[in-house]
Amino acid sequence: MTVWPDTREGTLDVGGFETVDMTINVGPQHPSTHGVFRMVLTVDGERVVDAEPYIGYLHRGLEKLTENSDYRQSMGWWDRTDYLAGMCCEGAYCMAVEKLAGIEVPDRAEYIRVIMMELSRINSHFMFFGAFGADLGSFGTSFVYGWRERERIYDLFEEVAGDRMFPTYFRPGGLTMDLPDNFEHRCRWVLSSVRQGLEDFDGLLTGNEIFVERCRDLSPVTQEQAINWGLTGPMIRATGLKWDIRRAEPYSIYPHLKFEIPVGRQGDVFDRFMVRMAEAYQSSRIIEQCLDEMPRSGLVLNPDLPTTLRVPAGECYLRTEGTKGEYSVHAISDGSNKAYRMKLRSPAFCNLSALREMVIGTYVADAIIILGSLDIVLGEVDK
């Protein structure tokens, strides 16, 4: 890779011609910014010399809203953060409240929660595969492949919770309602279709020479860099660090489940893609185990909960493995029925903060797919 001189100030004299760096504004309306993200690229021809990300176009004041609404009211705000995997966000929020209040969750509800969270993870990863293929220019084919499986998972969510993207299915202390009768059969069918979808993506993208040429050795990240930048989730696992909060700091029933933590080798774009691919497969394994082991009947909501949930004063920082990385909630309560402070540690926000270092020195086309490989969700970045 060409090393650019450090002292570039506007103009550079190349063989008698004066070249001027050009700034390109990418976003907030752009096909590849995955929402309303904006970055200003300074380019020298096709090379990116500097990049400055701008976020906040989707800022909805999540934390302020949570401070000013009841513990159960703010549920709905939280699954609108990572809107591709709403259940994971609900899970983190509910577990933080349960941790503070010391509420026990029935076993059946724990299993159903894990099933739902892993289905959400698959859902989010399929969105990534589709959108990443579209960033690479595979004209919508990968997108439609991804949407096919997502549609089936959303149908399942609709049968379970009544809503597709924002189910608001969890409650502090359990779940809103029990599963429908034929859930297990339907869920297994969805899983088989998910595996077929993974095979399809494997055939469409992984084996493709152009895909490999574009993604291999692009923006490799070392473990030290990843830790220093605060990358989490598939981004840090792509560097070869076997770190998954479901194993390192386990929560819910994950200690009882068997699954692998897929890791990459050099943290390049290709590894990030493959790690997500393997992760989606592992999620389907987790769901199958849960379906086999879960109690067939029983309560799904703790019956001892009061009508108004008053949480004793305390503080906790509850870590969960969201779809993009460490999705954690720093919750502080003061004994009232509203949270005193709820801070979302958004994985996509932290991953995105490393974008500038990753894209400098690459081509414009590469900057787009590096952004795609971060798998940002703007609802989560902007809170």
Binding site: M22, T23, I24, H30, P31, S32, E46, G133, A134, D135, L136, G137, S138, F139, G140, T141, V144, Y145, R148, L198, D202, L204, L205, T206, G207, N208, E209, I210, F211, V212, E213, R214, R216, K242, E260, I261, P262, V263, G264, R265, F270, M274, M277, A278, A280, Y281, Q282, R285, Y363, V364, A365, D366, I368
Partner: protein, 376 residues
């Protein structure tokens, strides 16, 4: 009636009538190419494609055309006015002029030029001017990037395109397209020059800005490239150019490589069969192009240029040298064909194996397929 005979014996009226026919047929064909592409991509992508306007969506392109004509013709305030407004025509006319020389059947065509192949090369180069005009005149940085990318790409790929066609012209011994077709009466040139066909097809994809070489119009990077600022009728001129060029190139490829109207029984079975052959072969090439578009991702500009200057041009020069030896010493055509086939297979194999070797994908893929396997 021969090619040269004017309609009604009046040359200007003859020219007018022929051109009007070409324009009308081309517009109709382009409309149904767009419809066909949308249907095909729908099939590839597990959806239906246009299906509401008319029976099976057949009138969708007409509806689109009416909408486009009715749209406001916008021009950005900082655009260079005349450059911006004339760019679509500058891009369109060369493509239109190519169609004038192509033989659709034995006596069907507008003009039978003695240097038809040469004329096509010469006129093709002019297409770039319109695209550069659009890129520079729009006053938009995306358009500028797109225009410059298009210029670099098209000028580079012109060379392997021309050389691969020259290889065929060497074997044929003529530049007249009609005579080239007649020479393929018993076997199409793709059988004895397959490597030239591979190079031609690759360069054609690049000249047409089709995937995987759709870098100048990259939707996900520069969101349309040089025609980003165009709307309404001027945008549809670009669309018309794109598909007319696709059709023209496909007929050209069918004529030069696949035997045009002559190959199986063209001379015996009459003009209907000849017309069918030309159209069928060109649509087969168009189908290949669309299939590629639905399947492959996009290359990066430096990889594209590397592939052209470091691979395609060398291979095409080698092809010309090999052909020269065979022609000079008068070796048999069968051996020439065999050598070429070997070259084509080695060439495709090398390109394919590079991707497989670089990916090391199988290790990961094994991981996720086999749940019990240890993680890498």
């Amino acid at each position: 009636m021969d090619f040269a005979d004017p309609f009604f014996g009046i040359s200007w009226l003859d020219a007018l009538i022929r051109l009007v026919i070409v324009v009308g047929v081309m517009t109709l064909v382009v409309m149904y190419l767009i419809y066909g592409e949308r249907k095909l991509l729908g099939r590839f992508q597990q959806r239906k494609g246009p299906s509401y306007t008319g029976p099976a969506g057949l009138f969708q392109s007409f509806a689109d055309a009416i909408k486009l004509v009715g749209k406001e013709d916008l021009r950005p305030r900082n655009a260079d006015r005349w450059v911006f407004e004339f760019a679509p025509f500058a891009a369109f006319i060369p493509v239109f002029v190519i169609l004038v020389t192509l033989p659709f059947a034995q006596d069907w065509g507008v003009r039978n030029l003695g240097l038809g192949l040469f004329f096509v090369f010469a006129v093709l180069g002019l297409n770039i001017v319109g695209i550069l005009m659009a890129g520079l005149g729009s006053g938009n940085k995306y358009a500028l990037l797109g225009g410059v990318r298009a210029a670099a790409q098209m000028i580079s790929y012109e060379i392997p395109l021309v050389i691969s066609l020259l290889a065929v012209a060497m074997v044929a011994g003529t530049l007249n397209l009609n005579e080239i077709v007649l020479l393929q009466e018993n076997r199409p040139f793709v059988l004895i020059q397959p490597l030239a066909f591979v190079i031609f097809f690759t360069a054609m994809l690049s000249e047409l800005h089709r995937a995987p070489f759709d870098i100048p119009v990259a939707e996900s990077e520069i969101s349309g490239g040089y025609f980003i600022e165009y709307s309404g009728i001027r945008w549809s001129m670009f669309q018309l150019t794109e598909y007319a060029a696709l059709w023209a190139f496909s007929i050209f490829g069918a004529v030069v490589f696949l035997g045009g109207w002559a190959f199986p029984f063209g001379l015996e079975w009459g003009w209907g069969w000849q017309l069918f052959l030309t159209i069928f072969k060109s649509f087969f090439l168009i189908f290949l192009v669309m299939w590629m578009r639905a399947t492959v991702p996009r290359l990066r500009i430096d990889q594209l240029m590397n592939f052209c200057w470091k691979v395609l041009i060398e291979v095409s020069f080698l092809l010309i040298i090999v052909n020269g030896f065979f022609l000079y010493y008068g070796w048999s055509e069968t051996i020439l064909g065999l050598v070429n086939w070997a070259g084509a297979i080695v060439f495709i194999g090398l390109v394919y194996s590079r991707g497989i070797r670089r990916s090391r994908a199988r290790e990961y893929v094994g991981t996720y397929r086999n749940p019990e396997a240890a993680t890498p």
